[in-house]
Symmetry: C2
Subunit: 415 residues, 2 copies
Amino acid sequence: MALIVQKYGGTSVGSVERIEAVADKVKAFHDQGHQLVVVVSAMSGETNRLIGLAKEIDHRPDPRELDVVVATGEQVTIGLLAIALRKRGLEARSYAGWQVRILTDGAHGKARILDIDTAALRADLEAGRIAVVAGFQGVDALGNVTTLGRGGSDTTAVALAAALGADECQIYTDVDGVYTTDPRVEARARRLPRITFEEMLEMASQGSKVLQIRSVEFAGKYRVPLRVLSSFQDGPGTLITFEEDDGVETPLVSGIAFNRDEAKVTLVGIPDCPGVAYRILGPIADANIEVDVIVQNVGVDGTTSLTFTVHRNDMERAAAILKGVARELGAREVLTDDRVAKVAIVGVGMRSHAGVAARMFKALAEENINIQMISTSEIKVTVVIEEKYLELAVRALHSAFDLDKVGEPAAVAVS
Amino acid sequence: MALIVQKYGGTSVGSVERIEAVADKVKAFHDQGHQLVVVVSAMSGETNRLIGLAKEIDHRPDPRELDVVVATGEQVTIGLLAIALRKRGLEARSYAGWQVRILTDGAHGKARILDIDTAALRADLEAGRIAVVAGFQGVDALGNVTTLGRGGSDTTAVALAAALGADECQIYTDVDGVYTTDPRVEARARRLPRITFEEMLEMASQGSKVLQIRSVEFAGKYRVPLRVLSSFQDGPGTLITFEEDDGVETPLVSGIAFNRDEAKVTLVGIPDCPGVAYRILGPIADANIEVDVIVQNVGVDGTTSLTFTVHRNDMERAAAILKGVARELGAREVLTDDRVAKVAIVGVGMRSHAGVAARMFKALAEENINIQMISTSEIKVTVVIEEKYLELAVRALHSAFDLDKVGEPAAVAVS
């Protein structure tokens, strides 16, 4: 008997039929003697419908009130799933975020979980009841409804698993695991039976879209065993592990991540002195714009340039903010480009192997793809390139690191 | 400056455009210097859609979970209206039932309000903010979401008006007031400029559908001045008063109420001894079936019959319960009939005038309409007739009591 937190995303609960299918799946686990907390998202399309209503009224709706509207999406699903479970003779009880309660800060639309009161859920589990919890939402200290932002249901599931000390947190989605890269771009992409937490983090931050990054951070922080698997087909999915496998051969590169939604902003000719980066990126952070890759090169003649990438939707806003900053700093100009994409190779194996970056640049050079920005971390090398070369770059790298060769030493070991 | 509680029903907030129109209306009141609490229902059709989803899963969904699902309807509207008000430069803040908090008992689907915490709303009003409250819903002492049952948004509005000591509670709906009878049945029906609380109570309980009966009871109990008016056209609506007008001539009959959704259940040949009515109606009440008209006639030969009416949806269930009771009591049989309707004349004037009932029976006799059951109260005479005669009966009575003659002494005085 294990304590399992399961999370079913919007597609998995996208219709009454699918909710019934989820109920069947949950029942099967319950029948095996497991204790279950089930986290659900809004039915697919519902969150967008609700945001659409709000935006019909106001292009930039008040964030507190938008959360009130949007949080109803998950509330419908928890009630419906609880009804479906009870129809199957199971004791089940639904919880909105405030009922659990999942305490968050007050950052509407992108709130962070501060604390979870597990008393009610534990009482349910001890009584053999299945708790059905609304993902993506919480309540702040003043009693306002908050949402965690897109994909936040994963975070809810992992946070609950951590708070309850669950044996496993299972994220059911419409894919059957984490792939070496997006199969829509490279048909030879393969499912990884396991991936390290750090690799997953880098994959997720690059837009692999399987798991929301904050949930992976959470899982890592609290050492929650996390498994990604499909709601629609049986299979072991991908287990996210915390240590590099002992005795299992480690691939150089586990996967190729990429992201199209990038835009590049450059400040040219800024003074090369302390505090400049902060004066540029401080106002950007204050405006709640998330910055991704940041590159600053060595200065020449006392001036330098700083380039960073943001989500395309934020580019205009970032540029507008920087106009003022550029004046103050005496910068030469602010350049923007929203036709860029980011590609990265990710793998814990590269820690102990030199030459991985060089092999990446060679593969791109052979395809005549110009590299605009380079950024590296211990287990990842990221490049920003012109968007039109994205698919070509992904396929070239997938092949260069032997990711399409099943059973090859360079590919991930099958457990 | 007055403190006004306004309530807008489902049709009034049935689309984004209509929510914007409500926001304009609210702004106009606010601009006049009034303090405002606005109660809203779910967008029209939404509650039925949500119930439909639940019933697709389970024909008889768990009541606690159904409330969780259904309560989202109003939550969407409060958020959208608050967004629309804020777009107009007004400070507005939405409240779900639990946020106010509106404490109810735990009778899911038909909960009663026990207490309202007005602290947050008062703080809003004092700060010049408009509070937007979800109608129809509350929270029980254990933190479960409850709903007050259909039409419960009116009750929420009146209860809030009472708790806040509001100067007026305005119920905006799709009709411009209370009519002498339903204009769809009698084209010559007229709007009543005012009606007494007691008459309104009797009209509402007869299915006049303008106001939910519990809200009228509440208004009477706490002496909340209540006004019914149209969201779509300007006009004074109908004011519900607490005293028979002084100096204004009182009509014999103010209106004709009726209800189609009735079914008749009769226990034939039950012992004519103390406690029998309770033994019959106790189990019905335990099953949460609301009984309307009850008639028991004088017994003959030690046995008698008892007939009562229930909502048609409850007839089968009531009959099933009575099968057992009938056996215990040695009753001869249980008869049911769901092709009946109820018609009533209502008027405080009949208190002081004899012969009103007789005039009613004469009017029905002239149309050859057989009366199956009769029940009377101080200001109302109710009959149950075969359903197919309903419209005919309403028109005959409307004319018999001169309700279609404007300015006639027998009709209500125009203030």
